[in-house]
Amino acid sequence: MTMSRLGAQPTEVIDRTAKLRFRWNGKRFDGFEGDTIASALAAAGEHVFSRSMKYHRPRGILTADYWDPNLLVQVGDDPNVRAGHRLLEAGMDVRPQNVWPSLHRDIKAANGLFGRFLTAGFYYKTFMRPAWLWPTYERVLATFAPGGKIDLDTPHRYHDKRYMHPDVVVAGAGPAGIEAALAAAAAGARVLLVEHEHAVGGHLRYSSSDSARAALAELRAALDASDVEVLTNSTVTGRYEDNWLGIVQRNHPIAVERLIKARAKVLVAAPGLIERPYVFSGNDRPGVITSGAARRLINLWGVKPGERAVVFTANSDGDAAAADLDRVGVEIAAIIDGRDQKRVSSAEGSSRALQAVVAGGNRIEADLLVVAAGWTAPTSLLNMAGDRPVHDPAAARFFPSDPPGNVLATGGLAGDGRIDELRAHGAATGRLAAQRAAAVAHRLQALTARARPVEGNEPAWAPDERTPLGRDPHPELYRSDTHGMVDLSEDVGSKDLVAAAREGYDSVELAKRYTTATMGPSQGKLETVNTVAAIAEARGETIAQVGTTVWRPPYAPLTLGALAGRVFEPVRVSSIHPWHEANGVSTILAGQWIRPDHYGDPAAEVRNVRTNVGLIDVTPLGKLDLRGPDIPKLLNLLYTNKWSKLPVGKVRYGMMCAEDGVVLDDGVTGRLAEDHYLMTTTSSGAGSVWEWVENWLQTERPDWKVHVTPVTTAYVSINVAGPKARELVGRVTEGVDLSPEAFPYMEVRLATVAGVAGCFMWRIGFTGELSFEIHAPSGHGLHVWEALMDAGQDLGVGPFGLEGQRIMRLEKGHFIVGQDTDGLTLGPSTGLGPLIKLDKDDFAGKPELAWAADRSLPMIVAIQTDDPNVVPEEAAQIVRGNTNEILGRITSARMSPTLGRSICLGQVEPELAAGGTKVTVLLASGERISATVMDHHAHFDPAGERLRG
């Protein structure tokens, strides 16, 4: 097989004035713009491109397109590149994959010597025993894994994503697909035409006939003049419910790939046909190519595929290939006509090249065998739509059976015909698609509130009155009188499939998985029919009786980058965030919030709050604005305690439990006016509590008059904490008497702070210190924060972050829902049993809490280690003595800067809950330490004198 570049061809797509230099297998090569990697290499005389997966047999061009199983190469750090499809670029470094030490001398080819032992199921059967050797097996087998090399240092590339809502998507831009797109667009539909190859035209592109060239020119001109949006080098990868389509666009200027999620009203499947290889001895030898490959090489890239050819043809495409070969000077040694019951038996030669073809007992010397044995109808998109294509033995391929009405097939998928017949069918399909799309559009508009109003009734669903395409008779050519490769991607031969059937894997789905036939990079496009035929032959049945595997998405393999698309990772920040960034903050991601964790020294922040005054940005604290006369009823339903008599200006703490009595959230709610309350939730519970409240209102109590609005970020929330908090807040606040008598603990006032009106100020805090929590309109939040900072310089004001707050709340013994509680923590376990008012008429979780009231439950308790310097890990187990019987766990633990010792909260079995009980804590290191349960939750200021100051 000696390939070389031909003179200019009338249909070629290369620009011979644009030479591109690249490297292949360590050597320099030249190609032209418009070449694929494979065509450039073929023109340079290369004929071995890869080694097969299992036996490492040398492989050359088979189909010279996207589906070619032998043309997977490494390009730079990009593995598994399809050299039959990827266009050549200057400077490309192209290398063969998984060969050692070289492509032409691959040691692993020795596998071929043991081929008879490496049949289907070899791995499953061989490496099961002894089980203890599996890690060794795994390491060795991993070295045989196919594919290229991934460089983990490769920078993340930009993958884009886009949504579309076209009326009609046409998958495939052959003559029928183009006509369908044009006709649908002419009927007023918005049309997206998606072509897998680099240009529209389908098989017309590599046809040398005048009529084909004229038709292609006409179609291209019509497309250019139309409103059809055309995507080339793009693939409709999947069809999902309601024509939700995945489309990968591989040639977008701003992204290496773009994933398009399109909701098509009608999908037209026009992928054409894929030429099916023929199974015979040596059918994977370099020099054996499909007729399509021969025609593409000659007509698209001006490559002479050999010097002396045998053509095995059973159809007009094979005949056309023979004519093309003859035209460009390839000697035709023989034409073996499959329509006359003639067969190719074997291809013989050296390990790298074809030397002779055996047919009908004759040995014909040749360096090229061109095979035209029939077609596979890539019915994937129809399968995904629920269709089960049926096999027609007279035409030797599958045809659609009954796809849903919003999925139409045309072109080779639907039948055979001359170019004009295919075009006519395509046009009729486009018109039908547009009519049906109009009906869908009418329905969607009528159902969508924002849409333009529609007039009249929904158009009737247009009947399918297309004149069907014919079906050309074709001999059933799957396997010759010898065995050969069925799946060149996976190195699965017809013998393997026969053996699998003999072993009982006679269902095509089982045989596929057992042998891995059809599971390689070609995804069955070349292999499925021959696989089914081999099983049918082994079972003595027809292909129709065996049936096929179900083609699922994706239609063609796609990258993980394409699936991931553009990465959207929303993050939230408060209005004060710029100040935090400018002042050395160390942040922590809490949910979606970027929050200040500390500003360098959390312990120092704690000491400053305990002695002076500190500010913390607690904006993420959930805030729900409640309005309406029925709020007390709602609060009584949501919280375990009572709310009917909360006066205006007062704030109350509440604990929410779910219907199962498990603690759901907690927070304070203040009454701002007669029918106006502000509820706060935990930061992490802001969203779920809102949904919880709305769920109760909308589904259980729709008659209650309460409007709930999340206002979490309408207000910046600043907690001013410390002994000097009152003095600091007083310096910037107007209109509020801040004295303890006038504004005591657990009350709320409307204030003007730093000139900002409309601020809510509560006397609450989480640190155990005198605290004022200021909720200022967010558009002025940064101003208020900076004003407080400026005003408190002489008071030693400083910021503190989440870590400092966590320490102080632990010193004070406040539990955190989700940290100190879990999905089984019932309300009474928190130690807040007195807040559970079982004498209320009803509230969420009441039956479970009533049940729990009479039982001993695990309890949240404060714990101190006997060695004050040991801080147990959070989640360290509390065990019984030296046993492993678990009696609880540490839920929070820190070193207290205030107390100079380790402090904890934990959940323990009721028997350990009494103050003074000694417990054993099992550390992660395995060490067991002694600790003591405290009398109350607060490690610091248990009487609460500081916070009430």
Binding site: D160, A449, R450, W593, D625, E734, G779
Partner: protein, 193 residues
């Protein structure tokens, strides 16, 4: 005491501003916005006259957006918005009606230009065709994975969209919109109501 300070936008990064271009993104977060809730088919609904999914020019530069059944966003110059809201007082004493100032809680961005629908297709799954989202349409959707209210309010025949989101997502969403608009030559306009 300091005087009432200027409104701080959620978009705090610096951008190179342009006063014009085929596709513009503008931060209009300071715009006064009120959320009104009433009863479906009630007196307020009749007065506001912007059914769910649609919008109405309420005069004085105020817009009423029918954001959900029984829920409206009123936005525009503060006095015009106040006038619309005040006009609901006393319509029907039996109707449960509330209104709150949402200006500080919601960021508002404007995307204007012929390519605006194509840009929005990159961040939002809505159908932006004239049939499904005509001038005056109002919708709620995920934009770059952030829950948003969206209203189309064309600018003299040029497609224009208002995008409202929770203020805390403002900077993130603004950057996501810039990223989406880069391929269409997006310009960032100076902030303002």
């Amino acid at each position: 005491m300091a005087e009432s300070p200027a409104f701080e936008s959620p978009v705090v990064r610096s951008y190179e501003f342009s006063s014009g271009g085929p596709l513009m993104l503008t931060d209009a977060s300071p715009t006064t916005k009120w959320l009104v809730r009433g009863e479906v088919g009630g007196a307020a609904a009749e007065r506001l006259d912007a059914p769910f999914g649609s919008s109405r020019d309420a005069g004085g530069g105020a817009l009423v957006l029918g954001s959900r059944p029984g829920e409206w966003i009123v936005l525009g110059p503060a006095d015009a918005v106040a006038s619309v809201v005040a006009g609901l007082d006393g319509l029907d004493s039996s109707e449960f009606l509330t209104a709150l100032d949402w200006t500080h809680g919601r960021a508002l961005f404007l995307v204007t230009g012929t390519d605006a629908p194509r840009m929005l297709e990159k961040v939002c799954s809505l159908d932006w065709s004239d049939a499904m989202t005509p001038d005056g349409a109002v919708a709620s959707a995920s934009v770059a994975k952030v829950t948003c209210d969206i209203a189309r309010h064309d600018d003299d025949g040029t497609p224009a969209y208002m995008i409202f989101c929770d203020r805390s997502f403002g900077q993130y969403l603004f950057d996501a919109l810039i990223d989406a608009g880069n391929e269409f030559g997006l310009s960032v306009g100076p902030a303002g109501p």
